[in-house]
Each structure stands twice: as structure tokens, then as C-alpha cells.
Symmetry: C2
Subunit: 303 residues, 2 copies
């Protein structure tokens, strides 16, 4: 084992309003959701800033879940705080408020051990910070990243620079179309792949996931649910499940491995959206995962 999967992102307070209710000040952030899903398959550690308002109970909660929080940087100021809402369609979140707090200007520092991690995930943060980390890393086996519309608009050049370094790009359907300035998904993915990414995972929400790898395409449907409560973190827990699956396999990226990772990740993300924040991933058991995996696999069309 080559040390835990390393994720650099956010650990945050979320205020979330959905048709199923409202929760304030719950534990959120990209690194949190990533780690809460990754922990079932592989050790995981988080790099992120937290403010001096960040409660010890949340740190204890993460530690008890076997998430290494020793590299969280406690900084004087407020923790990152996001407030958003979803309507009945559960389409894109509407951001009501974003308070960067200690995230503003945060530049992560990696230890000598951390720069040699084999599996790294750069969550949706400033591409300039992503590039800073990329330059520190000493040839990880699998480097993945995520992004969002804000960076596509405001930091396009740096964002494209990251593509040459990452092995896997996670991105939403609307975002990749925006990035490629293409309405047709296939063209958008082809355009972005020509920017230098070998593997692109396009997240389509309830319509599943589209995988591009070395010029070839695959799909995985979303696990069908009767009730979606809160989609926050679905993409990050998808990425967490994905990276932990790859790490646990110990294998090089191949079309077959990626497809198996997609199956597992679709199932894990389906749990995330069934409750607020990471409440469902908190209570989840391995037997619960395996039961849904079997059900999901029985739905796939094989030929």
C-alpha cells in the first residue's frame, strides 16, 4: 500500500434547502464528501483549511470514520460556508450564499510523504491552487481533478493547464459543454480530450455517467431512486468511490477497470443523495453497499 488516497479540497459548513426540508450548518465540502465515500475501500486523507469556528465534534466524526484529518489546516477566521437550495426537479443547485472565509488565499502545503502519494484527487478549487499542487507531486499513479462553472468562466487558462497533468477529469455535463463551447456532448468531450486529458468522466445527474477513455466511450446509468433528498456532494462522493476503487485494485487504468469503478461509484453516489449531507454514507454498511451493487448489476444490459 502506497499511503492513503490524498484529497485536496474543502471541508465546510453547508446550509441546504430542498423540498424535503432544511438543514443548517451541517458538515459539507468536497473533501468531506469524497472521503466519506472513499473510506469504505481505501484509507483516505484530507488537506483543507478550517476556521477557528470549526467544531471538534466534526473532527472527531471524521476521525471515527477512519478519515485522516491530521493535515487539516486550522486558520484564524471563519470556515468555508455554503448555502444553497434545490427545487423539486433537483436540477443544478441554486447558490444563495458563499462565504470563502479561510479558503480565500489558502495555499496547501504537502509533506514530503504526501508529495509521493500514488492516488490524488484535486477537488473543485482554484485551478491555480490545483497547478501548485500538481507541481509538488512526484508522479502519482493516478491524478484526478474536478472543477465547476465558476473556474471555467474565471480561470479558463489555468484550468486547461491542469488538464495536461491529470489522468482523470470529473466534470458535469453542463460544465463540459460550457468549457468546450459545444452543445453536443460527444463533441464537447472530444474537444476537452484534445486539451490533454486521456480519461473524462461526465456526470449527468439522474441520467448517469458518461466515460471517455482513450477515444472510447461507455455509460453507466444512475441507480434509480424513489426519493432524492439532497444531491449535494453526489459528484464528490462519486469521485471518492471511484478513486478508492482504483487504488484498492492496485491495477493500472484500463477500460475494464474504469468500467468496474463506474459501477461502484454510481452505487455509492446513489446513497449520498438519499439524505442530507453525508448522513446516509455515515450510517452505510458494507453489506448495504453490496446489496445495492448486486441490484444495480442486475439492471445493466450485457451482451
Amino acid at each position: 500500500m502506497s499511503g492513503p488516497v490524498l484529497t485536496i479540497g474543502t471541508v465546510a459548513f453547508d446550509d441546504i434547502i430542498t423540498p424535503y426540508g432544511r438543514q443548517d450548518g451541517i458538515l459539507g465540502g468536497s473533501a468531506t464528501h469524497f472521503a466519506m465515500a472513499a473510506r469504505f475501500k481505501y484509507p483516505v486523507e484530507i488537506i483543507a483549511p478550517i476556521g477557528d469556528d470549526f467544531p471538534p465534534k466534526y473532527l472527531k466524526f471524521l476521525s471515527r470514520k477512519n478519515i485522516d484529518v491530521s493535515s487539516l489546516s486550522r486558520i484564524s477566521g471563519k470556515s468555508f460556508h455554503w448555502k444553497g437550495s434545490y427545487d423539486k426537479t433537483f436540477a443544478d443547485a441554486r447558490t444563495i450564499k458563499t462565504e470563502l472565509g479561510v479558503l480565500a488565499g489558502f495555499v496547501p502545503s504537502l509533506t514530503k510523504t504526501q508529495v509521493r502519494r500514488d492516488y490524488c484527487f484535486l477537488a473543485n478549487i482554484d485551478p491555480e491552487v490545483q497547478l501548485h499542487i500538481i507541481n509538488k507531486l512526484k508522479g502519482p499513479r493516478v491524478l484526478a481533478s474536478d472543477t465547476m462553472n465558476f473556474w471555467i468562466e474565471s480561470a479558463r487558462k489555468n484550468l486547461i493547464k491542469t488538464f495536461r497533468a491529470v489522468d482523470v477529469l470529473f466534470i458535469n455535463e453542463t460544465e463540459i459543454k460550457q468549457l468546450a463551447e459545444e452543445r453536443v456532448l460527444l463533441k464537447a468531450v472530444n474537444n476537452v480530450s484534445r486539451m490533454g486529458v486521456e480519461t473524462v468522466v461526465v456526470k449527468k445527474g439522474e441520467h448517469g455517467v458518461f466515460l471517455f477513455h482513450k477515444g472510447r466511450f461507455s455509460f453507466a446509468p444512475a441507480y434509480p431512486l424513489e426519493r432524492i433528498v439532497d444531491p449535494t456532494g453526489a459528484g464528490d462522493s462519486f469521485a471518492g468511490a471511484f478513486m478508492s476503487f482504483i487504488a484498492a485494485s492496485g491495477r493500472r487504468l484500463s477500460s475494464d477497470l474504469l468500467k468496474q469503478a463506474l459501477i461502484y461509484s454510481c452505487v455509492m453516489a446513489s446513497f449520498t443523495v438519499e439524505g442530507f449531507g453525508s448522513s446516509v454514507l455515515d450510517r452505510l454498511s458494507v453489506s448495504g453497499i453490496n446489496a445495492r451493487l448486486r441490484k444495480y448489476k442486475s439492471m445493466l444490459i450485457t451482451c
Copy 2:
């Protein structure tokens, strides 16, 4: 062989406007699109009314494609005429004009041989007419139907009556949600299945197809295309491919057979949308179908 697949629907003139141009008076209609796709796997015959304006060249065209048009009813009046447009997203068509012409009040009559057909498709027509045909049929092996929002709103009771008779219901995602008065697809499908249909095929356009069969779900992704020219008829050619595949197999409906039929039908529908009307299905060869089938199958995730 138990005679051709029988389809009862429309044969029409279409005026279609899409971002790729405009075509007026082209051959369209549900039965046309169904038959143009079905003919590759199994003989097919059409029952539909045509007006005295219907040109012999269109009849010749269909006959040359091995589509049995001998049961088309020539009626004094104008042929069914639909005019619609699509925007750049190619989402639902916008109907600009519908002239029912000879379709208004048309009640199909079936020959003694036709009532004994094993494979029948009731295209999107008045549920009252669908029920009339259902009552004539002498226990087909597979009876399928399609519908649309217009009948859900105006003929709901009769529509639901048809569900008890059909083996397979083809329906769009927005339509099944409207029918079930449910926003969540899974709930909508469960509701409709409780109305008496054992197998429901939900067409999700570019997001593929969702299959419900005896309480179990499957999915098939849409074949990804760089260019969609005209989505008119995609659903009907999907149904045509599906029914011809089932008929050609000679097997009873099973989960496995339905999944194989989905694969074939997704591929066939992908050709339809690449050109106006049935122009691509017109030029299509079996080797062209098989090449795309291989490509599509390589995209599916197996476990």
C-alpha cells in the same frame, strides 16, 4: 412464420424545421417510421388511412422497401399532415400545425388473417381506436402500443383501458410522468405498471431508454452522436426495431430477450435522427447496422 408484424398508425406528410434546415411534404407518420426500421429483421405490414393526395411514388417507395402497403385505406380527402420544429437542444418537438385530414374518424378494419397476427403495434392513435383493434385481435403473442400527451389529457380513461391488454407500452419520460402525476420516474413507472402493463419502455431521448419488466428495471444508453438532424420518428423506429427483433427471435418475452431488443432498437433509432424523415433508414445496409451494433455493444458496461 406467423405473418408480418402488423402496425396500425399513421402515414403522413411532414413539414419539419430543425437547426439543420427545412423539409416540406416528406413522407412521415408513425407507421412509416415503424416499418422503415422493422423491415430489416421481419416482414411488416401497415394499416393506415391515406388521402387522395397521397402520391404513388411514396407507395412505390414503401413497397420497394418490402413494406406491405396493401392494407393502406385510400380515403377521399387530405392525408394526415404534421408541421413541427425543433430548436438547437432537440428537446420536444413544437407542433406548428396538425391537419388530421382522413385520419379524423378513421376506424381501421382488419382482415380475417390480420386479426390473427402474432405481433401487433398500435402506434400513437386515439385510444378508442386502439381499443377497437384490441377487441378484434385474437390473442397476439406480443401486443405493444405507444401514446402521447394529447391522449393522456383528452382520453385518459380509454388509454388506461388499453394498458390491461397490451404486453409492452412505449412511452416518453415526460409523458409517463404526466400520466402517473409523478415527478420521479421510478414512481411513475411503478404507478403505470400497476394500471396493468407488465413491460414498459420509457424513451428518454438522448438519455437512452429505461425498461421495466415484471418489477425489474434496466437501462440502455442512447448511441452517442455528433450530429442530430431530425429526431422525428425516433420513437416509432425504436418500436419498429424492437417488435421486429422480438418477432424474429421467435421467443417469448423474457428479461434477457427484452434487453437484447433494447440494444438493437437503440442502434436503429440512432440512425433515424441522423437525417430528415426516414432518409437514413432508407439508405441503411445490414452491414451498417452491424458495425454500429458492435460499436454500441463495446460501450456497454458489463459486470
